[in-house]
């Protein structure tokens, strides 16, 4: 039995990100003025400081920018090894997500692999994990 994932404390800035999975959406803060994305989410655009922003659904696909196979159990009973990856999101330039690559053996993961989001729900939080889309 895996331990529960650490739970983000929901606030005005991050709620859309952590709950968007309820509607199957990966939501990233998007600027209505300059069109660029801000992540981690803020109440303003980090590029033009506009307050005309909204968390918007993005494609939910991307590529593996870098990754590590983690062997150290950082919590009691945490199954290892597992892949921690940084995913570059399609259509969201400059935004990366730290995530886990699931549903494949750890040694199947490679740089540049296309991936797609899937959500793992735990008590109302929808963790965006990714699986290979090959």
């Amino acid at each position: 039995m895996s331990p529960p994932r650490p739970r983000p404390k929901l606030d005005q800035e991050n709620t859309a990100f952590w709950t968007g999975g309820a509607e199957g959406e990966l939501r990233i803060v998007h600027c209505g003025d300059c069109g660029q994305y801000t992540h981690p989410p803020r109440v303003l655009c980090r590029h033009c400081q506009s307050e005309n922003i909204a968390a918007s659904a993005v494609a939910g696909t991307g590529v593996i920018d870098t990754f590590t196979i983690n062997h150290q159990p950082w919590a009691k009973d945490l199954p290892v090894p597992y892949v921690i990856a940084r995913v570059a999101l399609d259509g969201v330039p400059g935004v990366y997500l730290t995530t886990n690559i699931v549903n494949c053996p750890v040694d199947a993961v490679a740089f540049g692999d296309p991936v797609r989001v899937l959500f793992e729900e735990q008590d109302g939080i929808f963790y965006p994990l990714f699986e290979r889309a090959i």
Binding site: R5, P6, K9, H39, P40, T66, N70, T98
Partner: protein, 387 residues
């Protein structure tokens, strides 16, 4: 003529694992050694700076703050600072340099005390409560069990492996070199008991690829003190002053996973904008090695080799050995001599420049050293010169 800032006294407590001596007393030990070397009294100290200051939610990480040092050592302080929101650990020394250059302080006591091993014996006091929720920066990593900076640093290192071909045999030279030097450092005896061999390194268990057990520093208990003095106060000093010839810092967003490369590249490049010295003048480097990959980023960032060439630069370990062309982490670094959290690098740079390093003293008469700190998106560097 602008005032200059000098490192004068340096001091260090016993370095151990699960020491029972109270961390404030470890700080006192280091402070006494530093003022004795400088020929000062606590009454002449008029500033106290630290990184990150007392961290009440996690005292093992930082059990002592500037307030209680001022109080307990009887210091009349004009200016003090402790805080996490600085480019990296050594920026506390950089800020002290500013204070003396501005004429606000004459002698600033800078310290970093760690109790990450000893604290485990009294978790109720020293360890953070197990959080039900995460917020701030950790919410973007912890939920995916990217719990440790080892995982975050591994992502940068893995990119270096992928893009430039860094090998484990090359990376291993950081820890192997550290262990060799630590064997000659009396204060590293609790941390390093034997020289690390390449065979042992290669067979070590992985923590987070490509980082293995020996690529990660080990929780330690210690205090390190560095005194920064104003150039016009040197007549009060009895030891050889070491000038802070330049300093640089960089924070490229405080998001480990939103930047492509560690901030060492920016801070490294910037350091040379503030000095007439060049990399050819550098006699020894003391590079932050909380994880073995990080010195590679400093080698490349400061320009000792091209980006991507760091692995080949350290290959075989001869170039970075004590008798090599660029002696690295001559006290053992954090991998060999304990997780002193940044201040150990300034301490050792000064010790080498003064010729006080005993058995591990590098040959010749070293005059210029670089000490660095930080990892990931934060970095701070000092250029130290005997001139």
């Amino acid at each position: 003529m602008a005032r200059e800032a000098y490192i004068t006294g340096v001091g260090q407590s016993e370095v151990g694992v699960r020491l029972t001596r109270h961390p404030l007393l470890l700080t006192l030990d280091a402070a006494k050694e530093a003022i004795a070397e400088a020929g000062l009294t606590f009454g002449q100290i008029d500033g106290v700076f630290s990184f990150p200051g007392k961290v009440n939610g996690y005292l093992a990480f930082s059990p002592v703050g500037t307030d209680e040092v001022i109080e307990a050592l009887g210091i009349k302080s004009k200016w003090q600072m402790g805080g996490m929101e600085q480019p990296a650990q050594l920026s506390a020394i950089g800020m002290a340099a500013w204070a003396v250059k501005q004429g606000i302080c004459r002698h600033v006591l800078c310290f970093r005390t760690v109790y990450e091993a000893g604290g485990m014996a009294d978790p109720a006091t020293y360890m953070p409560p197990r959080p039900d929720t995460v917020s701030g920066a950790s919410q973007w990593t912890s939920p995916f069990w990217a719990t440790s900076a080892a995982c975050w640093t591994a992502q940068y290192a893995a990119r270096h492996v992928h893009k430039y071909g860094l090998t484990r045999e090359q990376l291993g030279q950081i820890a192997i070199n550290g262990s060799k030097n630590a064997m000659l450092n009396p204060r590293a005896r609790a941390i390093t008991k034997a020289e690390l061999t390449l065979d042992t390194y290669m067979s070590a268990r992985m923590i987070s690829t490509p980082l293995c057990l020996y690529d990660c520093d080990r929780f330690s208990d210690a205090s390190t003190v560095v005194i920064v003095s104003a150039g016009d106060a040197l007549d009060e000093i009895k030891c050889e002053p070491i000038r802070i010839a330049a300093m640089s810092g960089s924070v490229d967003r405080y998001s480990w996973d939103q930047v492509e490369w560690p901030a060492a590249y920016d801070a490294g490049r910037d350091l040379w904008q503030h000095t007439d010295y060049t990399i050819d003048d550098v006699d020894t480097v003391q590079f932050y090695d909380g994880f073995a990959y990080l010195p590679i980023t400093w080698l490349e960032g400061l320009g000792f080799c091209e980006k991507g060439e760091g692995g080949r630069f350290i290959e075989g370990g001869t170039r970075i050995a004590r008798n090599g062309e660029l002696p690295l982490n001559t006290a053992g670094g954090q991998l060999g001599a304990g997780r002193l959290h940044g201040f150990g690098f300034a301490h050792e740079a000064v010790t080498q420049l003064r010729g006080n390093a005993g058995e591990r003293q590098i040959p010749g008469d070293p005059k210029v050293a670089v000490a660095t700190s930080g990892g990931g998106p934060l970095a701070a560097a000092l250029l130290l010169a005997k001139d």
